[in-house]
Assembly symmetry: C3
Homo-oligomer: 403 residues x 3
Amino acid sequence: MRRYWVPAALSSELPDTDCSPIRVRLLGEDLVAFRDSEGRLGLLEEFCAHRRASLYFGRNEEGGLRCAYHGWKYDVSGQCVDLPQQPAYAPKIAICSYPCVEAGDVVWAYMGPPELRPDPPSVEWATIPGGQRYVSKWLQYSNYLQGIEGAIDSSHVSFLHRYEIEQNPLLKKTAATDFIKGDPNPEFDIDRTSGGLIVYAKRRDREGRAYYRITQMLMPWFSFPPPFGQHPLLCQAWVPRDDESCMVWSISYCTDRALTAEERAAMADGGGINVTYVPGTFLPVQNRTNDYLLDRAAQKAKKTFSGVAGLVAADVAIQESMGAIVDRSLEHLVHTDKAVVETRRMMLEAARAHARSGTTPPGVSGESQRIRPGCVILRAEADVREFLKEGQLRVGDRPVMSV
Amino acid sequence: MRRYWVPAALSSELPDTDCSPIRVRLLGEDLVAFRDSEGRLGLLEEFCAHRRASLYFGRNEEGGLRCAYHGWKYDVSGQCVDLPQQPAYAPKIAICSYPCVEAGDVVWAYMGPPELRPDPPSVEWATIPGGQRYVSKWLQYSNYLQGIEGAIDSSHVSFLHRYEIEQNPLLKKTAATDFIKGDPNPEFDIDRTSGGLIVYAKRRDREGRAYYRITQMLMPWFSFPPPFGQHPLLCQAWVPRDDESCMVWSISYCTDRALTAEERAAMADGGGINVTYVPGTFLPVQNRTNDYLLDRAAQKAKKTFSGVAGLVAADVAIQESMGAIVDRSLEHLVHTDKAVVETRRMMLEAARAHARSGTTPPGVSGESQRIRPGCVILRAEADVREFLKEGQLRVGDRPVMSV
Amino acid sequence: MRRYWVPAALSSELPDTDCSPIRVRLLGEDLVAFRDSEGRLGLLEEFCAHRRASLYFGRNEEGGLRCAYHGWKYDVSGQCVDLPQQPAYAPKIAICSYPCVEAGDVVWAYMGPPELRPDPPSVEWATIPGGQRYVSKWLQYSNYLQGIEGAIDSSHVSFLHRYEIEQNPLLKKTAATDFIKGDPNPEFDIDRTSGGLIVYAKRRDREGRAYYRITQMLMPWFSFPPPFGQHPLLCQAWVPRDDESCMVWSISYCTDRALTAEERAAMADGGGINVTYVPGTFLPVQNRTNDYLLDRAAQKAKKTFSGVAGLVAADVAIQESMGAIVDRSLEHLVHTDKAVVETRRMMLEAARAHARSGTTPPGVSGESQRIRPGCVILRAEADVREFLKEGQLRVGDRPVMSV
């Protein structure tokens, strides 16, 4: 994972030069992020080299972050640039830092070897005008893999989100609804790409038609769920804070138009794949301490399938209910879990190849990231790959497939 | 313990067919309980065989509990009866389940080997009409043994409950009060029975009389405290949730009459051996987070001995104060701890004999469960065993001894 | 540490004979303290010898603390003086107890070998009339050493407390302010004493003057920060509850006058080196659960250096932010950390000498405790030791140095 750019913070968490530093936890490390007087981004280990006080209480001013205890000051590279008690010693002091770039309203960090730093993130939503994009995130108390395994698994939508897709303002009134409700047993097919997987989930109706939901998994934590009609496209990233929790990034975007005010309002209100928050935190209002506001009456009345309202909250409830790290030796997988299996296989292969010979893992290159999800309705006997023209699931000048 | 029927849930927690599933923790296992469309009881391991999502969020409908994630459905035996993605695979999928019976407003589970399943519970309160019985339970953060050790120890009543027995509407105005307060140093005598122990605690007065409190301990977690006058009889069961917490079951019952409305109201209000609850939980309002609402002024004024009001709350305070598992190597036992010693000995013997040769432990047979507590006043020089006629501490047609 | 008198409780926590017992945690031990019917102080292990119930729920009456479970009663020496069930056994039963003395509004305990018990505490504030003294304490979630390392480190005052010293009613309007703000790089010099260290921190101004802040460290947990003008003198003690938390004692006192009503009111309001509390606890209102009420706007506006208001709260925030036990192998110390280094060295030497040959550690003798802090302004080229007359940093008839 250290070979990739890691989503670390919302740009809006570091709104101005010399703004307040924030805490960031990534890949098991406690860090602080800040934006210096010239607008440069810094992501440093949390603790001062001197006496190990937290730099979270530091002063961000005049080109660096100054520890509140004795005034040692670090620039965005982690270099100590002011050491009041022994100035000559400053050049010899540096703390761990990670380079950052900003793209798509997100601060990204690179935590790997400097010489292997890849091109900046190239996922489509990070490259389009800001008006076409809405980015949010939430804190989830499960291993990141439980999240991505849900995201690439179209089959659960026929169950867990069965009623939600009819009601959610950012998903409803599309051809998807009838197919998803009508055929709970999609056929899965999978292609490997240079960056991850294309997952085809084929559902049929009684008129001989097939509806393909085409999800893209991009290593190591992205999923691009298929669109719902003309609603904004979706992307999610499950980024490990540590082995037992992750920050889930959620992006809704349009490739060819600005989001409407109604869409933005619905997203801010927890619609689509967004949540509302416990004030002052990124913890969803519906969380494990309150059983996600489980409503058995709504479950009984088929307003929700699980009793948990909202697309995200239902996913979080299920994924956290498995425990922080699910014991996969106890699973019983079936044909609709093909994408789950293939994702695990691809991750293990990439990790082993990297450990063995330093092989660059899939999804690091910018080119491999320029992908799109899609969905299409064909005759059931047609071959979706035949139908797909070159580039239709790539970012390009052709419209994304959506029905 | 897996050789016994285990109190698992109140019948009222599963009030109707297709009602909401509930979480149950027993002997270190996380389970879900439900009542299916035909009224059958199910007690299953909490996690779906497929991807290990919690079945607590499942839908209870049409003869089984359906996982909210992908719709796998289990009947009360744990058999998968619907597996939408791969129907032919369903017969091969089953999760752990435990048979249940319902008796005495309680759902009981059997967690042992099927071929050794005993007769249904035969404790008297489970076999009488519902109007003669009141059942409650609470969550306690101590090992179950600390609980039962308190329950069979009549001597602590002279101290911890000294003032309570004069005030509690379901204990007061009986001959017990003067004897318990007057003689803090009861003589203990013990008989082994086929199911546990009969514990005789003899207290004297200055007129040459002896008051015997005759408690029955029934393996592996029951105690039948002696009655207080004509107040309802009492039974308690300390059932392990795990090594560090237990669910305490509390039953008040009459063998020959219905409980009165006044008695029921007092029990619901925390009188007798009942508690009031933190809303939505089985945690007592008086609990370790608030020091059991310790009232030092009431302690000083001899309204309570410990400062903790209520019979149950005082016991819970003391038993939890020892720590989750008390280090018994630091104890100093005296003659009034005979029942404690004998209970530990009997449990160890039973566990060893079972481990060695599968010997059925005491208290499994229905016959051994048909017992009653009692109390009686005799001349001090009389022999209580001589006085006791065959059957007087057994369920039968003779009245329970009570003064 | 068991060779010293340990601050255990405020006298006001045990206000009367037969008052309520309180919980005390010291050096990793859970204890209860009480004042018996004759006013004698008892500090006992928390758990009854009989069945290990907590004596916190006990009755303090008629010359001892009686366990609420079975009435065993202990006197202040831990001796069982009443064992109702088996009276003859009582003389053989005793629980761990520690002798206590009361001095300076504080109950002190001695937890070491009886034959090595030292003279009562002789720190000056414990020997003066009560009207000249204000004692408070708070609970801190860090190792005690992180606390004392901050207290003897004058250099951090130029940073962390930079703005506080101008505003705090019990520190402001003294010569200290300009020197502390003007020279962030004090020269440290250290003398060993029979009880600890004298730490000289020398700051210069542009007029050729030097301002010495003279802190005394007294083994094993005291610091005497230098005075601020004519404000009350200060002393702090970081007393380990266990390896990961400490109780911090804070004393403000005058050697020659009573505290004024205004001073007392300011202290009760959290001024000086005091805090305000979460009701019913010794936890500061500003604590780790609320990020010490961090106010970034005040930090930006240079009302506070760290964003945390208050002298104590800022120290607690920094010291707790390091983690419960900071990993000192990751530090980078500089010349202003001389006192930190020397304190650690002295502690290690004392512990090793004690372990090796039972050598009485520094600071145990009453004489070694009769010390005072001080501060003075001299010509920069003067020798402060030359200037200091015999006794000026000792308790005596000469005024404490303060400017």
